[in-house]
Amino acid sequence: MPALAFALLAGLLFGTGIALSGMINPAKVLNFFDVAGTWDPSLAVVMGGALVVTAVGYRLVMRRPAPVFDVRFHLPTRRQIDVPLVAGASILGIGWGIAGFCPGGSVPAVGLLEPDAFVFVASMVAGIAFSRFALQPGAQTLEPRKTTS
């Protein structure tokens, strides 16, 4: 199962990155946004490092006709800036600001066996399920919606 092994490797890289960067720590994440208080600019450096590697890497990877273990690249195709995008991202930010966890930070934090991470991840999954099945009953699968993330 090389495909699964490499997905595991990608996950290990992700978890290592979140842990080393400090983004596993809600206090550090929140301090980035607290310019008027205990400001910690680390998150900007994390995003900068991740963006440069991803932008260059994606450019190289996209020269190939297809990924190694699939017949095509699964990329979002929607282009329009609509109300759900702006409203959803804004709601995400309010939750992130309250809890200090975002999806990418909270999943690796489960590996630290921190109870708060378990509570947050469970609540987030409940929110996704509520949104998907109650607010957007037509959107029950991921692929046809062509999401970014």
């Binding site: 495909a3 699964l4 997905a7 490797l9 996950g11 978890g15 290592t16 990155g17 979140i18 842990a19 080393l20 400090g22 809600p26 301090n31 946004f33 607290d34 680390s42 450096v45 995003m47 490092g49 991740a50 963006l51 590697v53 991803t54 932008a55 994606y58 990924p67 273990f69 699964h74 929607r78 329009q80 702006v86 959803g88 991202a89 995400l92 930010g93 309010i94 939750g95 309250i98 809890a99 975002c102 999806p103 990418g104 999943v107 690796p108 934090a109 590996g111 630290l112 708060d116 609540s123 409940a126 929110g127 996704i128 949104s131 607010l135 699968t141 991921l142 999401t147 970014t148 993330s149």
Partner: protein
């Protein structure tokens, strides 16, 4: 109070980028944690295996790192339980409506120069900053 850690954060960020590039090169997928998680645990018609494998890795790495003698991974969460649950539900609703999160829009989307991801990232950065300001400086913090 947390210290500015430019080098560790830069290296950590580059690992996050390597993860995104690896997943795209091999599986052709965006490394967006919210949708990998949702696709793994909620009913859907899409493939589960690679998502579960990715999540196992994402959880196992900090678990392994923190069990190395002498290594401590700083963690501090001050949000009271009801607010933590409320914040989690809001994040869940937000990523579903907005088609992505900090990793999907903020890293993978921006790296593809996606206009939707630029708009989403500006929106959530702004509302997060506003929320932190209100929580800490209007209400005096948790």
């Amino acid at each position: 109070m947390t210290e500015f850690t430019p080098w560790m954060s830069l290296v950590g960020g580059m690992f996050i980028g390597l993860s995104a590039v690896t997943l795209m090169a091999l599986h052709g997928r965006i490394a967006g944690l919210s949708h990998i998680l949702a696709g793994a645990v909620l009913p859907s018609q899409s493939l589960r295996g690679w998502r579960i494998a990715f999540l196992v890795g994402a959880v196992a790495a900090p678990l392994a790192l923190s069990s190395v003698p002498g290594v401590t991974i700083p963690f501090s969460s001050a949000t009271p339980l009801p607010w933590l649950i409320f914040g989690g539900v809001l994040v869940g609703i937000g990523v579903q409506l907005g088609s992505g999160c900090t990793s999907g829009h903020g890293v993978c989307g921006l790296a593809r120069f996606s206009t939707r991801s630029v708009v989403a990232t500006l929106c959530f950065m702004a509302t997060t900053a506003a929320t932190v300001f209100v929580v800490r400086h209007v209400f005096g913090g948790f």
